[in-house]
């Protein structure tokens, strides 16, 4: 793992059970450094966990590695922003088919919710995937600042 003053991390993780927790903790620590509110961090962590599980369970990658890049910045108005790239070198998947499959299956189906959870918890999600090149999910969380969350809780 590398960490620099401009708040970037890169991790190469083996595809072993529960490795997603390591990625979530790393991103959470960086987000806390930026002053992101805890609820935004929790949402980001759950999305990151699902992205790592998708890579581990479905990518079929030969190298059995998940490549995680996390960059922390601030928006023009000072809100903390985290960009995360989750990459695998697997077989890719059909994003359109995955989304339409979910809609066809109805409101309650037991498996295959990872993409919906990622998109619900993050502000921006972009997926690049090919059968030859694997998959990269780039997702962005623009969180409330911790002091804003504390202020809103005080008002309620």
């Amino acid at each position: 793992m590398t960490a620099t003053a401009d708040r970037q991390m890169e991790l190469t993780l083996p595809m072993v059970p529960d490795i997603e927790i390591a990625a979530a903790r790393a991103a959470g620590n960086l987000a806390r450094e930026l002053g992101m509110a805890s609820e935004s961090i929790d949402e980001m962590a759950h999305a990151l966990i699902e992205a790592c599980i998708n890579a581990r369970e479905h990518s079929g990658s030969a190298d059995r590695r998940i490549y995680v890049r996390i960059v922390g910045t601030s928006t023009a108005d000072g809100s903390p922003r985290i960009d995360i790239w989750i990459t695998d070198h697997g077989k890719g998947f059909d994003v359109t088919e995955a989304r339409s499959r979910r809609q066809k299956l109805g409101a309650v189906h037991k498996r295959g919710w990872g993409l919906q959870i990622i998109e619900a918890h993050m502000d921006e999600v972009e997926i690049s995937t090919t059968p030859e090149g694997g998959t990269t999910i780039h997702m962005v969380k623009i969180g409330k600042a911790a002091e804003d969350q504390a202020a809103s809780m005080g008002e309620s």
């Binding site: 927790i21 979530a24 929790d42 037991k110 919710w113 990872g114 619900a120």
Partner: protein, 117 residues
């Protein structure tokens, strides 16, 4: 590395129970909850409250196992509720449709009252 899930049970009468979880609800954690829930069902429990006060992280595989527990309880004519969810876990449950089949409560007291535990 992870918060291995721990489960404890508080029996309420002959047909009720509160199941407390502590840690990550993943596939292993979900199976642990299912094992305890099915034991309770075999013992006649038909009203089960899952208190997730000490669970801060869930994943979709773990939730899929919770859905199986709900389905089995409904097949047995019983009901399941959840309480003390973090806002993000509550949101995730809503995304996956649990809120359609199990009641969600903010605290244990209101849940126990509503479920008559």
């Amino acid at each position: 590395m992870t918060d291995e899930l721990r489960v404890s049970v508080d029996r309420r009468g002959t047909t009720g129970a509160i199941l407390y979880t502590k840690g990550y609800i993943n596939n292993v954690g979900g199976e642990e909850i299912a094992n305890r829930a099915y034991e309770l069902m075999d013992q006649g429990v038909r009203t089960l409250l899952l208190n997730l006060r000490e669970t801060k992280i869930v994943n979709s595989i773990g939730i899929s196992i919770l859905i199986e527990i709900i389905e089995k309880m409904m097949d047995n004519g019983g009901k399941i509720g959840f309480c003390c969810l973090t806002p993000v876990i509550h949101k995730t449950f809503q995304i996956m449709g649990l809120a359609n089949y199990a009641a969600m409560f903010t605290d244990e007291e209101s849940a126990a009252k509503e479920l008559a535990l």
